[in-house]
């Protein structure tokens, strides 16, 4: 038995007391005449009543907790522990920054339409095979040499329309699974890389998503953070393949990370593993991200206080 489509969410919100007075009246009226929805509403209420019954906590629990707390070192707010950390973790953030400098600066120049670059209109499009189309990249990419291994780099723009209407829709959620290459712009190298990712259009491994911070002029126009993807090396190289993504957070701790325990490292940063949901929220908020393997269930957050 399926609820009337219009009432699917309303019935649920009604049970939770999250429906507005108008919605409540609507539900009450509807269930008088709709047997299916009335029956379902009652079942929802029964389930809710049943699941919300709380089990008894063993009497010894509280004492156990307090004994453990008493046994802790005195400082209550001591955060994290010093633990050994794999070297790649420390280098992931640095690799992302380096990749930004080497890849994004020149290509960003190429992304901006230039009168003297002739064919740059095409560069607005999502994928930019820099090696295959050096002339199209124009002066931008020539002025800053690429690092070795960047030959097959591509960039993907999920930006606002100011960069070109072929970019991904601005409302589309940005995540490590979302981007897809524009088939018109894929050349052999990018196709190889997609194959290498092992998931077709589903996920891009080793790509770097970063929030391209707006320039002061752009800040004036309240341009939203822009996202670009690059692929300087594979996810295996960075170690990011062990995670859904590796996300770098600097300065203020975002709300979504409240309560997450970070582990301090002597190098001055902290790390924590978070669920994919949290990672997506951070990626959508524009934090620097190295995409890992979309099949993983946790992401690593690297935090610089």
């Amino acid at each position: 038995m399926i609820p009337c489509e219009e009432f699917e969410e309303l019935l649920s919100a009604f049970v939770d007391g999250e429906a507005t007075p108008e919605e409540q009246a609507k539900v009450s009226e509807h269930v008088k005449s709709c047997k299916a929805c009335a029956s379902l509403l009652k079942l929802y209420q029964d389930i809710s009543g049943e699941l919300s019954a709380l089990p008894e906590v063993p009497e010894t629990f509280r004492k156990r907790v307090m004994d453990q707390i008493a046994a802790l070192p005195h400082e209550p707010a001591k955060r994290g522990r010093k633990v050994f950390i794999k070297p790649w973790m420390a280098t992931v953030a640095a690799a992302a920054c380096l990749a930004l400098v080497l890849l994004i600066s020149p290509l960003r120049g190429a992304l901006t339409p230039k009168k003297d670059a002739g064919g740059t209109q095409g560069m607005k499009l999502a994928a930019v095979p820099s090696a295959a189309a050096p002339e199209a990249a124009g002066a931008g990419s020539a002025s800053a040499p690429m690092a070795g291994g960047a030959d097959d780099a591509y960039m993907m723009s999920a930006t606002e329309a100011e960069e070109g209407d072929a970019a991904a829709a601005p409302d589309e959620p940005v995540s490590c699974e979302a981007p897809e290459l524009n088939p018109d712009d894929t050349n052999k190298q990018t196709a190889d890389r997609q194959t290498h990712s092992g998931s077709g259009s589903g996920g891009i491994m080793g790509g770097i998503v970063t929030a391209d911070r707006p320039t002061p002029q752009e800040m004036g126009s309240l341009a939203p953070p822009r996202f670009t993807l690059g692929a300087p090396e594979t996810a295996e190289d960075t170690g990011a393949a062990d995670y859904y993504a590796v996300i770098t957070v600097r300065g203020e701790m975002p709300e979504v990370l409240a309560g997450v325990e970070f582990t301090e490292h002597s190098e001055g940063y902290e790390t924590a593993e978070v669920p994919v949901e949290t990672a997506r929220a951070l990626i959508e908020a524009g934090y620097e991200t190295v995409c890992g393997d979309a099949a993983n269930t946790t992401a690593l957050v690297v935090y610089y206080p």
């Binding site: 038995m1 079942l43 709380l54 209550p76 997450v260 325990e261």
Partner: protein
């Protein structure tokens, strides 16, 4: 416990009065334990998870910024700890996951035919067991959100914070999770058109409902 009392206690704990923390444990242990129990599925692990939640809350109390109630922050800790535990446990177990995506309906699902109402009053305990099985059979993100809502009684806004998703997603995901749970229940031969002994959330009174 009011928000003001809560803050005073937290202040005292941060000043070094460790014992004051016991009131926060007493106030929240039931829901934290229930949340952990529903998430990890057995009492022994749930007690460990609940204990770890409080220890982490104590150790990280300075990081609690007070922009939500302590309980919301604590549930998030518990949720993260349980997710982490489940993830590690999965590595050592072989799990056959029937469900692959959020909207994919399980193919084998059978929905009970309304016209064959057995009108049998089932044992409440059996119904509870069946309900537990059906909750466990939900896709992980559906199970999480139902458990989070029913156990903690958090508002949609607070659930959105805890799970790091939007309020709109909370609303739609809960609706989908409930519909799926209802389908699983009605498709379970142990459920039939049974009824639960309902416990009112607010009064704690128990009444047995029959058709």
């Amino acid at each position: 416990m009011t928000a003001l009392e809560e803050r005073e206690i937290i202040h005292r704990v941060l000043e070094g009065d460790t014992q004051a923390f016991e009131r926060l444990v007493a106030e929240n242990e039931k829901k934290v334990y229930a949340l952990a129990l529903k998430m990890v599925g057995n009492e022994e692990d749930a007690l460990d998870m609940a204990q770890e939640s409080f220890l982490k809350a104590f150790s990280n109390l300075k990081g609690f910024r007070g922009d939500s109630r302590f309980s919301v922050w604590l549930y998030r800790l518990t949720y993260n700890i349980c997710i982490d535990f489940i993830r590690k446990r999965k590595r050592t177990q072989t799990f056959a996951l029937t469900y692959t995506d959020e909207d994919g309906e399980p193919a084998e699902l059978e929905i009970a035919d309304e016209t064959t109402d057995p009108a049998a009053i089932m044992e409440t305990n059996q119904l509870r067991r069946v309900l537990g099985e059906c909750v466990d059979a939900l896709p992980p993100h559906h199970k999480e959100i139902i458990v989070m809502r029913e156990i903690t009684g958090l508002s949609y806004q607070d659930i959105a914070r805890v799970l790091g998703i939007s309020e709109g997603t909370v609303k739609s995901r809960l609706a989908r999770a409930r519909r799926k749970l209802a389908q699983l229940l009605r498709g379970n031969p142990g459920f039939g058109e049974g009824t639960f002994a309902r416990e009112d959330r607010h009064t704690g009174e128990r009444e047995v409902e029959t058709h």
